[in-house]
């Protein structure tokens, strides 16, 4: 294998990894806080992408892209916030919370997908990438846009991590995730904090959607594949810590790129699912996880 090929695969793996990290961290944040799996995460990615696309129809170029991303993140945050009150809060004390949340989030995903279909139609679309052209990366050419996206994704994750660790508001969110009753006794409005967490998750989904929509293409069902991928990432990494799915995302991205080269892409999904079962069997808390849940 030449250095060129290696660089090429590395770039591919890193970009995929960054994308997966962004998708999976949103899923993990909700999971850690509520202990439920949000099946609507894929649909939120799709909806975020469509909102941004709509904005870029009015404002083009780099400004349009930024504005689109901003508007999409803001709208999706509000939607995520509202979703908590409709989809989870009403039965958060119910014994079957996990199961009920599965069905409400599945239903919400169906609503969002079909609403997208009704409002934007079924055809593939792309959010015009603001950066075109290639850059040299260790002797091979890769689209600039991919790298910019990777950088923004990492910056967004870093910002989220800093928010959660360093600010009082972020610490309050972590407190709610770790011990709900104690947080309530500290005088926090737990429902609002949980809703904020889901809002944050939706915002990262929107960002991921904008990136998918500009790197790849969007259709109403574009979220299905990211949902499965983030599921795998989250399980491999474990959900107990905010950072663990991020490592796992890069591992999965790189593994996908290199295994597609060395083995065949064909078996990649099967290998991933088999890995997922094995990890669940021997270390259910994930490769980088611990027993306690935290944000």
């Amino acid at each position: 294998m030449t250095l060129e090929t290696f660089a090429f695969l590395l770039a591919s793996g890193l970009v995929l990894g960054g994308l997966y990290a962004l998708m999976a961290s949103g899923l993990a944040v909700v999971w850690t806080t509520l202990g439920v799996f949000n099946f609507a995460h894929g649909a939120m990615i799709a909806l975020g992408a469509y909102i941004a696309w709509q904005v870029t129809q009015y404002t083009t170029g780099g400004a349009g892209f930024l504005l689109g991303a901003g508007v999409s993140v803001a709208i999706m945050f509000c939607l995520g916030f509202a979703m908590h009150y409709v989809l989870v809060k009403p039965f958060e004390l119910h014994a079957n919370l996990v199961l009920l949340a599965v069905i409400t989030t599945l239903a919400a995903a169906s609503i969002m997908e079909n609403a997208i279909l009704l409002s934007w139609g079924p055809r593939d679309k792309q959010i015009a990438p603001p950066f075109t052209g290639n850059i040299e990366f260790l002797g091979t050419a890769i689209g600039i846009h991919d790298f910019v996206i990777l950088a923004i994704a990492l910056a967004a994750l870093l910002a989220l991590a800093l928010f959660l660790r360093r600010t009082t508001a972020g610490r309050a969110l972590r407190a709610v995730a770790q011990n709900r009753e104690a947080a309530e006794l500290m005088g926090f409005n737990v429902s609002r904090l949980v809703a904020m967490t889901i809002g944050l998750s939706a915002a990262t989904a929107a960002l991921a959607g904008v990136f998918v929509g500009s790197l790849r293409f969007i259709s109403p069902t574009v979220g299905t594949d990211p949902l499965m991928k983030s599921l795998i990432v989250v399980i491999l990494g474990g959900v107990t810590r905010f950072t663990s799915p991020i490592y796992a995302a890069f591992i999965v991205g790189l593994a996908e790129a290199f295994s597609a080269y060395f083995l065949v892409l064909y078996w990649a999904p099967a290998v991933l699912f088999a890995m997922m079962i094995i990890v669940l069997l021997i270390k259910p808390e994930g490769l980088f996880g611990r027993r306690t849940r935290t944000l």
Binding site: W31, G35, V36, F37, V86, L87, P90, F91, H94, N96, V98, L99, L100, V102, I103, T104, L106, A107, A108, S110, I111, E113, N114, A115, L117, L118, T224, M228, L231, I235, Y266, P269, A270, F273, A274, M276, I277, L280, L281, P284
Partner: protein
């Protein structure tokens, strides 16, 4: 089981008989194959959902690979009947065997995990199976599936002839068998062990229930009829395609299960009819149809998590309460003389903290004796005591809430020993009974003890 009445003596007997008769007669009213097709689909969904309830509702194992049992049945039938050339009926019987084998395999990871991890590992297992099916294109037809799977015939008669009437009755038969199986299982020792393990795992284990064995059996038992239904589906549609692994199929079945209500056998059957019919009515609305159905599911789950069957039971219960209340009121009004004849005094309603109760009070005497009757009884059981002691003591007795001619109480509040004790105290206060002797019979005895324990002399 000793304390459960036989099915013939339950409230459900006649409704089930009537539903069965209607189901058997339906094809004569609906001759179009379209409607029969929908009915067959309803039966298939009903089998899938109600058997899923065995693991999910009764067993508490959230198995998202349940649809994979169906898929295995489907592909087993397809491969056995078409590629190996087995007799279709034998292939049909082979399907559940392989489904059980897969369930046993699935049990290995499931046994080690809890809660949401079970969901994840089963999703992964189903996806892995999907990859396997798709990759073995030579046997399974790959992504497009295998077509022209042999159909079922009975001595040359195709079950699909005469507007699919054969398939209709076969699927009805499957539903009946599946339901009888689930009903019997639920009431067997195994069924009790399954429920015990769900409700209090460690207690159940400490009482000798083997967690591993029971969970394995639960999964295997829940695989039998889905496997059969899968094979039936293959024979009926004559295609085995990998889309049964998709999220769509899973969502419909899960919606049916949750809408019907978990931990009931009948709920999923009812919901299968409701959801499929509803989806069919809305078929012309395209994307809006999915939105409406999804919104409906959210609404039900959020507002009434118990599901349709629980709602039906509550409405039924409401009816019963209304009926008994009306009867009690009618008796208070028009049969007072009969009771007066027995007791010697006329009864009247006295207000208490737990609603009005019907009281007989002889009214004179220094020492009062209060008689409290037992479960499913009434104050008139004390008529001989009233005959005997009248004159010597002041005698008081009353109908507990929901008994005799007292109005019904609220089940959460009023049907408890503590509440009965409080009623006694209220009566003592309002009738000015001073320091009574309280005589309790059976349940009344507990009420009397509770009254005494509260330190009211």
């Amino acid at each position: 089981m000793k304390y459960a009445p036989s099915f013939q003596r339950t409230n459900g007997f006649w409704p089930v008989v009537i539903a069965l008769c209607i189901a058997a007669a339906l094809p004569f009213f609906f001759t179009e194959t379209h409607i029969r097709h929908i009915l067959i689909l309803i039966f298939v969904y009903a089998i899938l959902a109600s058997n899923w309830d065995l693991s999910l509702g009764y067993g508490g194992i959230v198995n998202f690979a349940h649809i994979a049992f169906f898929a295995i049945g489907l592909y087993t039938y397809g491969i056995a009947a078409k590629i190996i050339g087995l007799d279709p009926w034998l292939a049909l019987l082979l399907a559940p065997v392989l489904a059980i084998a897969f369930a046993a395999l699935l049990a290995i990871p499931v046994l080690r995990l809890e809660g949401i991890y079970v969901i994840l590992v089963t999703i992964a297992a189903a996806q892995l199976l999907f990859q396997l099916v798709v990759s073995q294109g030579d046997f399974t037809g790959g992504t497009s599936g295998m077509v022209l799977i042999p159909r079922l015939e009975i001595v040359g008669y195709r079950l699909s002839s005469d507007g699919r009437i054969g398939y209709y009755y076969l699927s009805l038969l499957l539903v009946v068998f599946s339901t009888v199986f689930l009903y019997k299982l639920e009431r067997s020792a195994l069924g009790r062990a399954i429920k015990a393990l769900r409700d209090n795992k460690y207690y159940a284990i400490s009482r000798g229930v083997s967690e591993g064995r029971i969970r394995l059996l639960t999964l295997c038992a829940s695989a039998i009829f889905p496997g059969l239904a899968g094979a039936f589906y293959g024979a009926y549609l004559r295609i085995a395609s990998p889309d049964v692994f998709g999220l769509g199929f899973l969502t419909i079945t899960l919606s049916i299960l949750l809408l019907g209500g978990i931990s009931t056998i009948w709920g999923p059957l009812i919901a299968a009819v409701v959801i499929t019919a509803f989806a069919e009515i809305l078929a012309d609305y395209g994307a809006s149809r999915s939105i409406i159905i999804a919104a409906m599911i959210i609404a039900v789950v959020v507002v009434y998590p118990g599901g349709l069957y629980a709602a039906m039971q509550e409405i039924w219960g409401l009816g019963t309460r209304l009926r008994t209340n009306v009867t009690a009121a009618w008796r208070r009004r028009f049969q007072a003389s009969l009771r007066q004849e027995a007791m010697g005094v006329k009864d009247h309603l006295v207000e208490t903290r737990h609603g009005p109760v019907s009281v007989c009070d002889t009214g004179n005497g220094d020492q009062t004796i209060i008689f409290v009757h037992g479960n499913s009884s009434c104050k008139e059981v004390f008529r001989r005591q009233f005959d005997e002691f009248a004159g010597q003591y002041r005698l008081v007795t009353f109908d507990l809430p929901g008994h005799g001619v007292s109005p019904n109480g609220n089940p959460d509040e009023d049907y408890a020993v503590e509440a009965y004790a409080e009623i006694i105290r209220n009566l003592v206060d309002s009738l000015d009974l001073k320091t009574p002797i309280v005589f309790g019979w059976s349940l009344g005895g507990y009420a009397a003890l509770e009254y005494a324990a509260r330190g009211t002399p």
